[in-house]
């Protein structure tokens, strides 16, 4: 049961691609890796791609909300893309959609953030 975190910077956008399962156990790793990148670099916006995320529970909601607060405190924005239907319902129940923008694909999300 593991989570692979792949991070790529395009300009001032940090793209974080998750592959695997995001639960209490794996959320610690994601939290520290993202926190480090956001603090140590000039990242302004975060694009979180959940295309290959096969499982997520409330621990994922907590770590995503935590990074949302971190990035918006610096005047940036967060967009989440490619969410599967069950994970979509978690976002819906928690009201996260009221604050976090969602797009179908990475291309659409990058477009919103000003990258062609």
């Amino acid at each position: 049961m593991s989570l692979r975190v792949d991070m790529e910077a395009i300009g001032d956008i940090l793209i974080v691609r998750l592959d695997g399962e995001l639960d209490h156990h794996t959320s610690e790793v994601l939290r520290s890796q993202m926190e480090g990148q956001i603090n140590d670099t000039d990242v302004r916006h975060v694009l979180l791609s959940l295309k290959n995320l096969h499982f997520m529970d409330s621990s994922g909601l907590g770590v995503i909300l935590g990074r949302y607060k971190q990035i918006t405190a610096r005047g940036g924005d967060m967009i989440v893309c490619s969410i599967n239907p069950v994970i979509y319902r978690l976002f819906e129940l928690s009201g996260l959609f009221k604050i976090i923008k969602v797009k179908d694909s990475e291309e659409e999300a990058l477009h919103i953030l000003g990258v062609a």
């Binding site: 639960d23 209490h24 997520m56 529970d57 409330s58 978690l90």
Partner: protein, 150 residues
């Protein structure tokens, strides 16, 4: 559930976070022959993960000496999952069930676990006693229309 027509399985494991993945996959494997679609199976894995994580984080406050117990039953009508710990218990259950209520905001918990369990299952009951532990009983109906005829 009717004795004789029911199948069951029990698990007892250490309250360690690396066992969360094991627990939800073990339950899903036990239920794999049932007529559940992919989304329903994901919902069951999610609620198992919620209750097991709660036992570890809240029940035992991350003391890995604790043990988590899962009992799973099914017959042709429904799946029943019971997840128990012998941890600290919950002082105010009504408050704990509220969406976004958490006693551990410093751990970046969102307070959504019970709301998710209620939404993804047909029944979610909490039995708890301070200092004794917590028991979560959840039911998912398999054949919704037939249930009404019974």
């Amino acid at each position: 559930m009717e004795k004789g027509k029911m199948n069951f399985m029990e698990l007892n494991f250490a309250a360690r976070s690396e066992n969360e993945g094991f627990a939800r996959i073990a339950v899903a494997a036990f239920l794999s022959r049932l007529p559940l679609n992919l989304d329903e199976m994901e919902e069951i894995k999610t609620v198992v993960s919620e209750a097991v994580t709660n036992a570890i984080i809240h029940g035992y406050e991350e003391d890995e000496q604790g043990a988590v117990m899962i009992s799973t039953f099914y017959d042709q009508y429904a799946v029943e999952i019971v997840i128990e710990d012998h941890g600290i218990g919950i002082a105010d259950v009504e408050e704990a069930r509220q969406p976004l209520f958490t006693t551990k905001p410093e751990l970046e918990r969102s307070g959504m676990g019970f709301t998710i369990m209620e939404n993804f299952m047909d029944v979610m009951e909490i039995t708890t006693e301070i200092g004794r532990g917590t028991r979560i009983r959840m039911v998912k109906n398999l054949v919704k229309n037939e249930m009404l005829c019974n």
